[in-house]
């Protein structure tokens, strides 16, 4: 698969990246030629990085038991971890293509700025979380509703370092999709305890996190 950006998408990325202020590092984990979309994921990251001198790529063509993969707790490929002003828990497992390209672009901007747009009451609630939270958002690249859920998980990860927000492309990880019986997307799994489907308001999502850690 050759990755090509249509002109309107390229324009959108260029415009969006005008908001970058701090450097951003994309840690890209692949096992070249050995996973479904490893090569394409790396290509997407490289193409994205060409839009701004503030974006740097750290490639790790490595297995999950390598030092760097362990450091970032990477248990599957391909993966992209987005660090910016701080080391945030923003991760993408599987190719961030289709509608999810927008999730990646916007996560980069948030990570660079160290802030995100979210209603004050949701922000307060998410910031108050003092336990470890792992959010897995299962998506398909053709799902127009999925980025709403992915963005929410990543926004929460910006607000609170206890939160790890993962986008997981459901088709690339059939075992995980089977494990969590993903039959509709977006499907959200929080701490293996609370699950729900759909693009829900951020407050509803945040309250589900509270439910999962109680």
């Amino acid at each position: 698969m050759v990755v090509e950006l249509p002109p309107d998408v390229a324009r959108y990325i260029k415009d969006t990246f005008s908001k970058l202020i701090n450097p951003v590092t994309l840690y890209v984990f692949t096992t070249k030629n050995h996973c479904l979309y490893c090569n394409e994921t790396l290509e997407i990251a490289r193409i994205i990085a060409e839009f701004s001198h503030l974006i740097k790529i750290e490639e790790c063509e490595c297995t999950t038991d390598s030092h760097m993969a362990k450091e970032f707790n990477i248990d599957k490929h391909p993966a992209i971890v987005v660090h910016g002003r701080e080391k945030y828990g923003i991760r993408f497992f599987g190719i961030p293509s289709g509608y999810e390209l927008g999730s990646l672009v916007e996560a980069i901007v948030d990570a660079s700025r160290g802030e995100t747009e979210i209603p004050p009451d949701v922000k307060e609630l998410v910031r108050s979380i003092d336990k470890k939270v792992h959010i897995q958002v299962f998506v398909t690249p053709t799902c127009p509703y999925c980025p709403i859920a992915v963005r929410a998980a990543h926004k929460f990860a910006i607000l609170n370092r206890n939160i790890l927000g993962d986008m997981i492309e459901a088709i690339e990880f059939p075992d995980l999709s089977q494990k969590y019986m993903v039959m509709a997307v977006p499907k959200i799994v929080i701490n293996e305890k609370v699950t729900f489907e759909g693009a829900v308001p951020e407050m509803f999502f945040a309250q589900k996190i509270i439910e999962a850690i109680e």
Partner: protein, 307 residues
């Protein structure tokens, strides 16, 4: 989280009608809030729009919506993302409650809630939604790659989803429910993977936790289709639930009745776009929304002056 906010005008809906109404009203210096729902507007699903004036090159629905949103914000409209769950539209001021229990009040309201998918009310349809029952082939279709699934619906929506799913699944049972407006040949010609079950009535979706089958009745005889998923594809209907008990009159199909000034049956409440079932085009939604915004603005100014 409880809260209260007051505006001169509230627009419900973040599709082309809602964003245009918000943009117009804000440009007329009306304090305007757009409450966009959490579900994406129908326009977001359009891959290409090639008949919107001024755009000589095709533009995607998502991009056009983005531009409309940007325009509304630039003109000074405020936008929040939430779902309005109840309304008191006959009161003065009008009151709206969102899912987060936040209460909004306004002198005037423009309803631009678009269309929503119609449930077929098959037994267990609601219980198994998200567990094998889906209303979005473009979203969930890839999860059923190579599997046997059923598609139940009517009209052009049925054809579109049959085309989409037959490229993904292993086998597709298609069941057309009344009104049966699509010729069987058109359905069958889409793909060899399709088995059209004619004169069938869906009776029950089977499965405790997840879909395992679909029970149908063909000429009074019950049959079982062993399927892992049931996709529903019906023509869209207006978001009527919101209007229950609000006093806003709708027709038999649930379409909001408006006059030439986009006024509904409730004073100070206007409607535009697909929820009125007029035009059903982006350009007509935008045009009607502009009319609604102008008339709502006049109404608000008269109220301020006490006329």
């Amino acid at each position: 989280m409880f809260g209260f906010e007051k505006h001169q005008l509230i627009v419900i809906g973040g599709g082309p009608a809602g964003l245009t109404a918000g943009m117009y009203a804000a440009s007329l210096k009306i304090d305007t809030l757009i409450i966009e729902g959490t579900a994406k507007p129908r326009l977001a699903l359009a891959e290409i729009i090639n008949n919107y004036p001024g755009f000589t090159e095709p533009i995607s629905g998502v991009e056009l919506l983005g531009k409309m949103r940007e325009h509304a914000l630039k003109m000074g409209a405020k936008i929040v993302k939430s779902d309005v769950i109840s309304t008191q539209l006959s009161s003065n001021p009008k009151m709206l409650t969102t899912r987060e229990n936040k209460i909004y009040s306004a002198d005037a309201v423009i309803i631009a809630t678009g269309l929503q998918q119609q449930s077929l009310r098959i037994k267990n349809e609601q219980k198994l939604t998200g567990r094998g029952v889906s209303y979005c082939a473009v979203c969930d279709g890839p999860l059923f790659a190579g599997k046997t699934v059923a598609l139940v619906g009517s009209g052009e929506a049925l054809l579109e989803e049959a085309e989409r799913l037959s490229g993904i699944v292993g086998k597709l049972y298609v069941i057309q429910v009344p009104p049966e407006t699509v010729e069987s040949e058109r359905i069958m010609s889409i793909s060899g993977k399709i088995e059209l079950v004619e004169k069938a009535i869906p009776v029950e979706i089977l499965g405790d936790e997840y879909v395992t089958g679909l029970k149908i009745s063909v000429n009074g005889t019950e049959e079982l289709l062993e399927v892992g998923g049931v996709f529903i594809a019906t023509e869209k209907i207006p978001t009527a639930k919101l209007l229950e008990n609000s006093g806003v009159k709708t027709d038999a199909r649930g379409c909001i009745i408006v006059d030439k000034d986009q006024r509904t049956s409730v004073e100070g409440v206007y409607a535009a776009g697909d929820c009125t079932c007029r035009g059903l085009q982006v350009v007509t939604a935008a045009g009607d929304a502009a009319v609604a915004a102008i008339n709502a603005s006049v109404y608000i100014r008269r109220k301020v002056r006490g006329v």
